[in-house]
Symmetry: C2
Subunit: 292 residues, 2 copies
């Protein structure tokens, strides 16, 4: 692979698709078709939805177990890996992982150089805790030829800590496989609250954010689409995508530009302005005493 | 004072005004007039802008020193205190504070029962650090007859930690005196990024947020108005206000309702779902090594 010039923008593709429950081979084949189309349009970083190989709504743990794979040995990871190496692209894809007796809601990070790493969802939503073990790898970042990637999954975005911990380690693009569902209180006249959360996080961490949601209804559970790519300024540069249909969002992300403009004036750079002295002191002094 | 029934909503007023630089007595008198008008409409909690007694754009430290007051002895605090006691209301007001050799960008929290406490801005913006000492009181919360109040000022909102630390201590309404200015990257076709930040923070902490900005241009520095009251759901319930003119926003906040709906389903309550085991471990293991 020829490394991109650091000034060359990364072209990201958020692939909003509709996995078919339990049709793992078919889902991976569909995703590879969409990846090929995005690569033909110049994309070098692909983001696929959460659990996009298996589907999301498991009836019980046995069903999840049956559809889970070891990483990187499993067939889904191996198929995506071959695709990434053939096309010379980076790929972040949601996958049902099995390791020993544990299941994880995971993402694989793959590239032309091979298997790069995995992420395991830290904050589990709804009945996921009946099947999955909470993520035990923290919020790792992945240094690649196109930039430093962070990754988290869906409900993790409701925790500003997820973005902060990645940004503090140097993440430049936070890739988010997701299965956003309708949530309480959503203003029906406005963009999804998930989009608002990503805008705030991108802005207050000076990082790019690329979220790929799924669409469709699975076993009665609707998903809301509206995948989005957000600039380090906090404003969307592609999307929100359709709420109902498969769609691939493409966006050019200029990482050098982001680093160049991270200082907002002579005094302020938001990540350097953190007062860890204040936060650590407060978090270390019994603040989490259950007032909430 | 007769305590409100816990089911009775708090009526908050965000008083967007235009302080005149250095005209401390006049500014406080104007604010009291606006407080009286809001009280007449039923408001029981008032939020005034940042440094609303003195103005914001100091030429040098000597000028800031001259306009600063001790808390609670100073004339501004005493005038507001008399007003709060006369009207039976709670008040959060931005003020230039002097203590010993230090100046702080502060807020006073006052009520019918008297002086309740103070907050000192933790994250200083622009050249404020030439005049002010960074806040040294953390993010205190204030238990009152109408609910538990959090408070921070302007640029503090760019740090999700400010909201989180207040919410973890039980804050129900976070009151934000502010002097928002135009910022880099603002999409001119959209609401202020400051509004987006508050929406995300209210939603992901299940707290009400009430921000009072100033308007006008002072010594060449424009301010952007757009004060807003955000529900615990993350959606504005009053405002954003005008970008240019003084305006008082009124909103009913049902705190009991917020507590009742804080669980989003059988499994999830966002503040309880935090993974402090993960965050603390990562923050304690050299993550802040300057990658940003």
């Amino acid at each position: 692979m020829i490394l991109a010039h650091p000034e060359a923008p990364v072209v990201v593709a958020c692939i909003q698709m509709e996995p078919v429950f339990s049709a793992v081979k078919q889902n991976v084949a569909t995703s590879i078709q969409l990846i090929e189309q995005a690569a033909a349009q110049g994309a070098t970083l692909m983001v696929l939805p959460e659990l996009c190989n298996s589907g999301y709504v498991f009836a019980d743990r046995a069903e999840a177990w049956e559809l889970a794979e070891e990483i990187p040995e499993g067939t889904s990871t191996q198929a995506w890996l071959a695709c990434a190496q053939r096309l010379g692209i980076y790929l972040v894809a949601g996958i049902t992982e099995r390791e020993g007796h544990d299941l994880y809601n995971s993402a694989v990070i793959l590239g032309p150089e091979g298997f790069i790493g995995r992420y395991r969802k830290v904050h589990l939503w709804g009945d996921e805790g009946l099947f999955f073990t909470p993520g035990n790898l923290g919020f790792p970042v992945f240094k690649t030829a196109i930039g430093t990637l962070g990754c988290h999954i869906c409900y993790d975005s409701w925790f500003p800590e997820s973005f902060r911990l990645a940004a503090l380690q140097g993440a430049e693009i936070i890739c988010i496989p997701t299965n956003w569902v309708p949530i309480p209180g959503q203003d029906p006249k406005r963009e999804a609250m998930a989009n608002i959360l990503l805008m705030a996080a991108a802005h207050s961490n000076s990082v790019f954010v690329a979220a790929a949601n799924r669409v469709g209804t699975e076993r009665g559970q609707p998903f809301i689409g509206q995948s989005v790519v957000v600039s380090y300024t906090g404003w969307p540069v592609s999307g929100p995508a359709s709420a109902d249909d498969p769609q691939t969002l493409l966006a050019e992300l200029n990482l050098a530009d982001a680093r160049r403009h991270r200082c907002w004036n002579d005094f302020n750079q938001v990540l350097k302005d953190r007062r860890s002295d204040v936060y650590d002191h407060m978090l270390g002094s019994g603040i989490q005493a259950g007032h909430y």
